[in-house]
């Protein structure tokens, strides 16, 4: 069956054998036209004979009331990730394929060959609810290679600060598990209550062992972590003053910092670090795009699908297209991976993060302009080549 294996090959094989395999693949292609050998192969051994990267869910392990860790066996072609990176997972919910990005938390090159992501339910989240509560072990998942630059970099810092909230702890846990050489670490983590701390037991064990210093912030009682400089918020009680960044991590300025959490927290952190002239020492990862501007919307014409969709000025074209049944390429859904880029043939779109308007005109020699559909909404009528 080796002829069923298309590229990429995982292990180098003798040249003669490879040539024979290539020839057999050609013959197989003749036999399976109009399909490809992999279209049949994926039905026999989905993980190994498929043209696309897939994975199988091995275990769903509950972390908290609303979070679970998924252990996944990736198929042929999986390339080891860098701790802190995320993968995109395609999962069918009620028969409909959805793609979402999740940070990897597993050890690189673990003996069992599994990779892990930890998912936290978000309110009204179709996919997160399915992954946390419903998905059964054995389910086949679509995967993408790991991506993202929220990583430690070539040289681990001597002193590190991780500023996280909610499921923002997941990429950090990926780094902590894979980088035992990190010893001077402070983790400031916010969650509604102690029970809501994702992977709380492991974090506390790390704290108790002295590997990290964990500062838990239970926001339901203590309120949101204030990242502003001391005194900036006016009349503070002593208790409040004790909970500022300077009080919690007096040496934060000396620490290389990675922050992952809700937009408001990241914006506040960025402001503080920039004000201190330390912007370059802050690395952030966002869950979703910062919507800065919405426009009037308009009719989006998907030229190849032959569909017109009346879209809202605040809704990404990606969402509108998917809802109408257009096969939209997608990626991180937050404007960073460029997996959703499609040509704008005519009309204008607004970048939801910046409010910037991009215009293409078919006439007058103007060509199509590639746009990121996940962070672009129509600014009047426009047509997309999909």
């Amino acid at each position: 069956m080796s002829f069923l294996l298309g590229p990429p090959q995982t292990a180098p094989r003798p040249r003669a054998l490879r040539r024979l395999g290539a020839r057999a693949l050609k013959v197989a292609e003749f036999l399976t036209t109009p399909l490809l050998p992999a279209d049949y192969g994926s039905l026999i051994a989905p993980l190994h004979l498929s043209a696309d990267l897939r994975g199988r869910l091995v275990e769903r392990r509950r972390e908290t009331a609303d979070a679970a860790t998924l252990l996944i066996r990736p198929g042929r072609g999986w390339r080891p990730h860098v701790p802190g990176q995320y993968i995109r997972i395609g999962v069918d919910v009620d028969g409909v394929r959805h793609w979402r990005a999740y940070s990897l938390t597993s050890r690189v090159g673990a003996d069992d060959g599994l990779v892990a992501v930890t998912v936290k339910k978000i309110p009204d989240g179709v996919v997160s609810r399915h992954l946390v509560d419903e998905i059964e072990p054995g389910t086949l998942l679509m995967l993408d290679q790991a991506a993202g630059d929220f990583v430690l970099g070539p040289r681990a810092p001597r002193r590190a600060l991780f500023l996280t909230a909610g499921s923002g702890i997941t990429p950090v846990m990926g780094m902590l598990r894979n980088h035992p050489e990190l010893t001077d670490v402070v983790v400031v983590h916010s969650a509604p209550t102690a029970d809501d701390v994702v992977m709380g037991a492991e974090l506390r064990a790390l704290h108790d062992s002295g590997r990290i210093r964990l500062v838990e912030r239970h926001t339901r009682v203590e309120g949101i972590l204030d990242l502003r400089p001391d005194g900036a918020s006016g009349d503070e009680s002593d208790a409040d003053a004790a909970r500022t960044l300077d009080a919690l991590v007096p040496d934060w300025r000396l620490r290389e910092t990675w922050a992952c959490g809700p937009t408001a927290m990241l914006d506040a952190a960025q402001e503080r670090w920039d004000a201190a002239g330390l912007g370059v020492r802050l690395h952030t990862e966002r869950f979703r795009p910062v919507v800065a501007a919405t426009g009037d919307g308009g009719v989006v014409t998907f030229t190849r699908s032959g569909l017109d969709v009346d879209a809202d000025g605040g809704a990404p074209i990606l969402d509108s297209g998917e809802d109408a049944g257009v096969l939209m390429p997608s990626g991180c859904r937050m404007g960073i991976c460029f997996g959703c880029v499609a040509p704008l043939r005519e009309g204008s779109v607004r970048d939801l993060r910046t409010g910037e308007v991009t215009t293409a005109s078919a006439g007058n020699g103007g060509g199509a302009v590639p746009i990121q559909t996940c962070v672009s909404a129509p600014a009047g009528a426009c047509s997309i080549d999909l």
Binding site: T33, L35, G95
Partner: protein, 463 residues
């Protein structure tokens, strides 16, 4: 063989409006709409027609009935309904559609995936068995399996996937924009002529080329020509070579031969590209069925080639049988071009309901026909997943009864014989068949002279 057929592919009925000198049809006497341009260029409006799946639909209230009589006359088949009732019918059907669409889910997705797995397994298994096709039992089992696989692939899977019935799953592997099928016609050209032209202009004489495919006269309002005398033969040849006839039909070969001097450069380029695509695809399929697979069978090469030929032939005959039973049986209405001007949503539904015919039978029949046995439901809701037509049919039948509309259905043999009756009857000029039944011709000589008189009569009539 197909070249002979396509030589007579085009009748006046399928000419582009701009080149038609006659204006006897009241529709042609009025200012041309934008969609009256040659149908090769999909205009916005034809696209809008395809996109009936869009949630937001134009639903202007029906204040008047837009139905117009055909040249041959006849009464409005929905004449007993008021415009308000037709409006209500449209709303009721939209609601039914939305209701069923909203319940699509994991079970439906599992159905199509299981079907695809079974079909591919059956094909792979049959081809493996056929490697030893010298053995009679292997030949029979392999041929049966391959035929069934090819039929499933074309009908319940291919046709329906390319209709976009499974696009909602957002699986790029099972999507109308990426699907390619085991058929001489390429997916792209088939989707245009089928989804855009046929499903939009269903049974409109002179608009819907599926009404006889340009080689058969199946309606009194299609103009007669002496070439139609031989249409019983075309019908048989068409069935035997069905996948190739469809490819030539989708290429609009007849039209191109007829108007080759008047075509724009773009049309010529597109046509040549289309011909190349079909030729390349056909070459690959021929290589697969008649070179590579037999070669791998070694000493069984001859019987493997014969098995593949048989499977292709039976698939052609079967798909043709099912498809002619969809719109040609007795009781199916056709419409004048003028009828679809300003047609409302309710009237569009009415035309689909009255212009299609079902095949009754057990679930296996529905599967074997790709659920085109539910042609009526398919034409009303072309993008509804095919596994749902059976349940929708019960509700649709009730609506037909309530609105007192004829639901044309019957077992396969009845419907197929009814098609043949039409093929024979309309091979002669209008009225000739009735004439013949009243006064049968006793000898061949008398028959020929009778025929001559009919032909002359028809010419006079046309002038």
């Amino acid at each position: 063989m197909t070249a002979t057929i396509t030589g007579v592919t085009d009748r006046e009925d399928t000419e582009p409006e701009t080149t038609e000198p006659e204006t006897t049809d009241p529709a042609d006497a009025q200012p041309a709409r934008t969609t009256d341009a040659a149908p090769t260029t999909p205009t916005r409006e034809t696209r809008a027609g395809k996109a009936t799946r869009r949630p937001a639909r134009a639903s202007a209230a029906t204040t008047e009935r837009h139905w117009k009589p055909k040249r041959s006359g006849g009464a409005d088949p929905a004449g007993h309904l008021t415009p308000a009732q037709i409006d209500a019918l449209g709303r009721e059907l939209d609601a039914l559609r939305d209701e069923v669409m909203a319940t699509r889910g994991a079970a439906d997705a599992a159905y199509i995936r299981r079907l695809i797995t079974v079909q591919r397994g059956l094909e792979l298994g049959s081809r493996l068995v056929l490697l030893g096709s010298k053995n009679k039992a292997a030949w029979v089992a392999g041929t049966l399996g391959l035929t069934a696989a090819k039929i499933l692939e074309n009908m319940e899977i291919g046709h329906n996937v390319m209709h976009g019935q499974w696009d909602w799953m957002r699986d790029p592997k099972i999507h109308s924009s990426s699907w390619e099928w085991d058929h001489a016609a390429t997916a792209a050209m088939w989707k245009h002529s089928h989804n855009e032209v046929h499903h939009t202009y269903t049974n409109v004489v002179g608009r819907d080329n599926d009404l006889g495919y340009g080689i058969l006269r199946v309606d009194a309002d299609q103009k007669w020509h002496p070439a139609f005398l031989a249409q019983p033969i075309y019908n048989i040849v068409n069935a035997i070579t069905f996948q190739y006839s469809i490819a030539l039909y989708d290429l609009e070969l007849g039209r191109h031969l007829k108007y080759r001097k008047r075509l724009s450069d773009q049309q010529k380029t597109d046509f040549v590209a289309g011909v190349r695509a079909v030729a390349a695809k056909t070459a690959r399929h021929v290589a697969r069925d008649y070179v590579v697979h037999p070669a791998l069978s070694g000493t069984s090469w001859r019987s493997t080639a014969a098995a593949n030929f048989t499977a292709n032939l039976v698939r052609n005959l079967w798909t043709n049988t099912v498809i002619v039973c969809g719109h040609f049986p007795d009781g199916v209405e056709t419409f004048a071009k003028a009828s679809i001007r300003d047609e409302t949503r309710g009237e569009w539904y009415l035309r689909q309901m009255l212009g299609s015919a079902n095949i009754s039978g057990p679930p296996a029949m529905h599967l074997a026909t790709g659920n085109l046995s539910h042609q009526i439901e398919h034409h009303m809701f072309p993008d509804l997943p095919s596994n749902r037509y059976a349940e929708v049919a019960v509700r649709v039948r009730e609506i037909f009864d309530r609105y007192d509309l004829p639901y044309v259905t019957g077992p396969l043999h009845t419907q197929y014989l009814s098609v043949w009756r039409k093929v024979i009857r309309y091979s002669l000029p209008n009225g000739a068949w009735e004439d013949l039944r009243e006064q049968p011709v006793p000898t061949l000589r008398r028959g020929l002279s009778w025929l001559g008189a009919q032909v002359r009569g028809s010419r006079r009539h046309r002038a």
